[in-house]
């Protein structure tokens, strides 16, 4: 077990030590203590390690993650797990704005609430939120899955491409070109798997969710939709 005191040793030393692992390592268990809301903790990892942050983080925690499993035993600030490529990020508390933005792969689990713009422009990442999500979530989401056990805020899935959105609770409003879609057997199967991965299978059943996706009306220019582009 590698234990790192962020307050004593500093952010650059932490990220340098983690980047030095470079793909393969036998040092697979890491702990970070005293994060105290600091920014850019465990950014740019590319090694199959398990890292636990004991406390709340600031901006951009776990950004650009590859391979690593990062757990935050607290809440996370804006830009959590931005552009994740693979691996997993699990937050016990809440996440601030644009969690999982532009993610291309991997799994993001938020056990509390996520704020506005969760999954904005997601491109393949899977996101499971146990609580609620804020306004403009999944804006321009392109692929991947967003699962929300609670409620969604205004303008869910505005200008959505092919990402799938599953919401159990209420949706305050749908964004342009986002519509409710039928839940077919393959979706229930997918959702069951995502709930299991997201440590939420004991909290919700797939059939309790509604599915939202793109109506695909904005894909090609149509003068009648000019006001929606």
């Amino acid at each position: 077990m590698q234990k790192f005191d962020l307050e004593a040793q500093g952010l650059r030393a932490l990220n340098a030590a983690l980047h030095a692992l470079n793909g393969q390592t036998n040092e697979t268990a890491w702990e970070v203590v005293n994060p105290k809301g600091s920014h850019s903790i465990a950014v740019g990892l590319d090694a199959p390690i398990e890292l636990t942050v004991h406390g709340s983080t600031g901006y951009y925690c776990a950004g650009m993650n590859k391979q690593a499993t990062i757990r935050v035993k607290g809440s996370a600030g804006p830009g959590l797990a931005e552009n994740m490529m693979s691996g997993a990020v699990i937050v016990d508390g809440n996440a601030s704005q644009y969690a999982g933005a532009t993610g291309r792969g991997g799994l993001l689990v938020i056990k509390g609430d996520a704020s506005s713009r969760c999954g904005v422009s997601m491109k393949g990442i899977n996101i499971v939120v146990h609580g609620n999500i804020g306004h403009m979530s999944a804006f321009m989401a392109q692929s991947g899955n967003l699962v929300v056990l609670g409620d969604a805020g205004d303008a869910l899935g505005d200008s959505l491409y092919e990402a799938r959105l599953f919401v159990r609770g209420s949706v305050k409003s749908l964004g342009a070109d986002c519509v409710e879609k039928e839940m077919r057997p393959e979706h229930l199967e997918l959702l069951a798997d995502l709930l299991k991965q997201g440590e939420a299978e004991h909290l919700a059943k797939p059939e309790e969710f509604k599915r939202y996706g793109s109506a695909r009306n904005l894909y090609n220019f149509n003068i009648d939709n000019a006001s929606a582009y």
Partner: protein, 298 residues
């Protein structure tokens, strides 16, 4: 970017530490705004004394004998506490307007930072830690306060461009964001007889609230009004004689975190501004919703 903080105490036993707690929060926000810093602190209300905080670029010259000259002008006792470039003048609460008029005659170069019966404002150009130490903010006591670290966008880096802004008695405001319709609002407010002193967008935000309240709105209603009438990005934290309020615009791009315990309500642009507060690990911590007014009163 800008960093804003606020602290509203429920537990009286923390009042002697208000300045120290706010100072630490302010300094943590330095990298959101290294251009200037300011703090508004509320304390000693209802003691019969009115307070006028003034600022001068030449404090030795302007503050020399000012209390004696002001006493002669209004014929009432005047107290004066000098802190670096600022001085707080205490006069009987019913003499505040008379004292303000007399000050304009006696020292035309002085800038009035705030007026009221509990509010004092200290702000200057420079790093937050330097601003805090020149005014000895950490030693101040009070019931609630707000602070700001500025990364200048809409007007020059000057003392008067620093936050907090106060445009009404015991009212003040700090802002993270930028307003895009401040010029037209400034003209509208001038027509209504509310004049701003700088070209700063935030001062217009403060003046807007003053105007609404002057026309009978409660602070809550005035804050609701910002959502209709102000264009741009804003997270506002406001202080009044006995209250503390927060509002974010409907897009809510600017960050905000709040924490509440039995002892206090705290606001920070980032969570790390709050990490040294007592009991923060078990506090209720949340992000204020967009287009929603939050308000606490003593």
């Amino acid at each position: 970017m800008c960093g804003i903080v606020g602290l509203f105490l429920k537990d009286k036993s923390l009042e002697p530490q208000l300045g120290a707690m706010l100072t630490e929060m302010l300094i943590t926000m330095t990298d959101r705004g290294p251009d200037s810093a300011g703090i508004a602190i509320y304390g000693g209300a209802d003691d019969g004394a009115g307070k006028i905080t003034v600022q001068s670029p030449q404090p030795e010259k302007d503050f020399a004998d000012l209390d004696r000259e002001l006493k002669d002008a209004i014929g009432k006792p005047v107290g004066m506490v000098i802190r670096s470039t600022h001085a707080v003048l205490e006069v009987p609460v019913d003499q505040v307007e008379a004292a303000r008029s007399a000050l304009a005659e006696l020292r035309p170069g002085l800038k009035v930072m705030s007026v009221g019966d509990s509010l004092e404002i200290y702000k200057e150009v420079g790093l937050p830690k330097d601003v805090a130490s020149r005014f000895e903010l950490a030693k101040m006591r009070g019931t609630h306060g707000i602070g700001h670290t500025r990364m200048a966008t809409e007007s020059a880096v000057t003392t008067n461009g620093a936050h907090p802004f106060s445009t009404g008695s015991d009212q003040c405001l700090v802002h993270n964001g930028s307003l895009s319709n401040h010029s037209s609002l400034r003209r509208m407010l001038a027509h209504e007889g509310i004049y701003t002193e700088t070209m700063n967008d935030t001062e217009v935000g403060a003046a807007y609230l003053t105007w609404r309240m002057k026309n009978g709105a409660t602070l809550g209603e005035a804050l609701e009004g910002t959502l209709e009438d102000l264009d741009g990005f804003f997270t506002f934290v406001v202080g009044t004689h006995d209250g503390f309020g927060v509002v974010r615009d409907p897009i809510a791009c600017k960050p905000a975190v709040m924490a509440e315990t039995d002892q206090y309500v705290a606001f920070g642009s980032e969570y790390r501004a709050l990490v040294s507060l007592p009991g923060i690990d078990t506090a209720r911590v949340w992000e204020p919703e967009p287009a929603t007014v939050y308000f606490w009163n003593h």
